[in-house]
Amino acid sequence: MGRRRSGADPAFKYGTLILSSSVLVLALIYFYELYTGSVPTLRTGLGFVFGSIWDPVNSHFGVFPMLYGSLVTSAIALVIGVPVSLGVAIFLSELSPIGLRSPISFVVEMLAAVPSVVYGLWGLFVLAPLLRTDVYPYLERYLGFLPIFQGTIYGVSMLTAGIILAIMIIPIVASISRDALLAVPDSQREAALALGATKSEAIRMSVLSYARSGIMASVFLGFGRAFGETMAVTMLIGNTPLVSASLFSPGYSLASLIANEYTEASSAVYISALIEAGLVLLFVSFFANVIARLMIGRLIRSREAASYL
């Protein structure tokens, strides 16, 4: 090349390379920092995870009630949120007139745009009172033979937190499932319909089974989101370290533990305990997302291929 050779090309290449490595470095720093920060309580071993006494004053840091609360509320979120999301996804991919698809997707995506503290506010002043007076008494009356619907009814409870989480995971579960369903080739549907299947039979037999891994991925993503959601749960779960079979009972979650008690954590061990709660959140959500993304990887590639046709 006749022109003055410039170092701009390699500088740009390696400059952007360094910036892109920030994503990898970040992933490592998350684990490293949260691990080293929780070493003082990690030394106490499994007592942290399985101990059920949370008494910072006497240095008892058992987070089992919080782990239980996180798992129970996430489970409620999935039990309610996944069927609703699947219904939305099936409507969008199989039934909706083409013209309605994008307005409906738009509305569902707006659910994801609402800040979680606004969900908490709305949940606290609108949803919780409504559930307490108009829903929970009927659940207790008609399903009270189940241990999960027994006991005193409070507005703030694991069930209320789980219901708000169900609403919050709808956008992610519905949009990933919709993508999975749209990636199913039409020949699948046509084959089932040609054999005399009704529309719903065709969806169940050949569409849903074909999209299974994408749907599973969306469930993992929904779980990861619900498990780590902080503000809405903190405002609705009651923040009481209880392990109760009743979903009407207040509870606690790992994320709300951190949000609530950081400002009052005075001793190094107390802080370490909260960091370890963060480490547990990090592990669970990281692997839920890794599993989901591995499953989606295939889906996206086939979707991209399809979009060129």
Binding site: A8, Y262, I271
Partner: protein, 278 residues
């Protein structure tokens, strides 16, 4: 076809409509409730006055608005350039490499890490070190959250730029780095969209701020000092027993929703008919 199967078919298909209604009703209810309860709290004082004492008249959220604006500006200054150029590398140099796919993959995974965990991270790195909540810590936490999101959305946006543009530019003897800038310019609309959506997302964040920026009843007083934010104040006031505080929380929620949903609706209307990478 026997009638039972037809009936079952109709029932199952209508269930999807029921699900759709169940998904939309909460959104509509949130918008109506936040508007109805928040509108009364939004007046001139809301934008000009400091938060009031409990059980008093008047007061506003001016310092929280200021704090949120500053936090969003500083975190964007951190997160947008890093994320943007990271995306450039992934699309322009690392498209076929294992490294490039690893960055993309981890970007997706990190975007799914709960925001409170980012708060804990920055708390251990910065707040514990300097023994103080600060706007710096808050901005770093929010900026950190933006990096993987912006990196991946930029990468996708650049990948959508046709290769013919790169080839034409290189064939004219334009250097690779200037060619990359040309590619960025070609995708500026999608990059702007993605950046705005990332900004909307961190504007609504609360959990990391509790552990990093803290809260303040004053105006911005310095980079190493705690700062007020709309979201933290919504949480703080909503969980208080005082009516005047709760009313302000609704007002702040309405203001926040207008901004965040406004950005989301705006970019989607602007990009209607085009693929959005976000």
């Amino acid at each position: 076809m026997n009638t039972r199967r037809v009936v079952v078919d109709k029932v199952l298909l209508s269930l999807t409509v029921v699900a759709l209604v169940a998904a939309v009703v909460p959104l509509v209810s949130i918008i109506i409730d936040v508007t109805a309860r928040g509108i009364g709290a939004i007046d001139l004082d809301f934008f000009t006055q400091l938060p009031p004492l409990a059980n008093t008249q008047g007061g506003g959220m001016a310092n929280a608005i200021q704090g949120t604006v500053l936090l969003v500006a500083f975190s964007s200054a951190i997160g947008l350039p890093i994320g943007l150029f990271s995306g450039v590398y992934v699309s322009e140099y690392g498209r076929t490499s294992r490294y490039g796919s690893l960055v993309r993959f981890l970007g997706d995974v990190l975007a799914g890490i709960p925001s409170i965990v980012t708060g804990v991270l920055v708390y251990t790195l910065i707040v514990l070190t300097y023994q103080s909540f600060s706007i710096i810590a808050g901005s770093i936490a929010l900026g950190t959250m933006m990096i993987p999101i912006v990196s991946n959305t930029t990468g996708e946006a650049l990948k959508a730029v046709p290769n013919s543009i790169r080839e034409a530019s290189l064939a004219l003897g334009v250097r690779k780095w200037r060619t990359s800038l040309l590619v960025i310019a070609n995708a500026k609309r999608s990059i702007a969209t993605a950046s705005l959506l990332a900004i909307a997302r961190i504007t609504g964040e609360t959990a990391p701020l509790i552990l990093t920026a803290g809260i303040s009843t004053l105006w911005f007083t310095g980079f190493n000092q705690p700062v007020a934010s709309l979201t933290y104040y919504i949480y703080y006031f909503a969980t208080s027993p005082f009516t005047n505080w709760q009313n302000l929380a609704w007002g702040a929620a309405l203001f926040l929703m207008i901004i965040v949903l406004g950005i989301n609706m705006g970019v989607r209307v602007l990009t209607r008919g085009k693929r959005v990478y976000a």
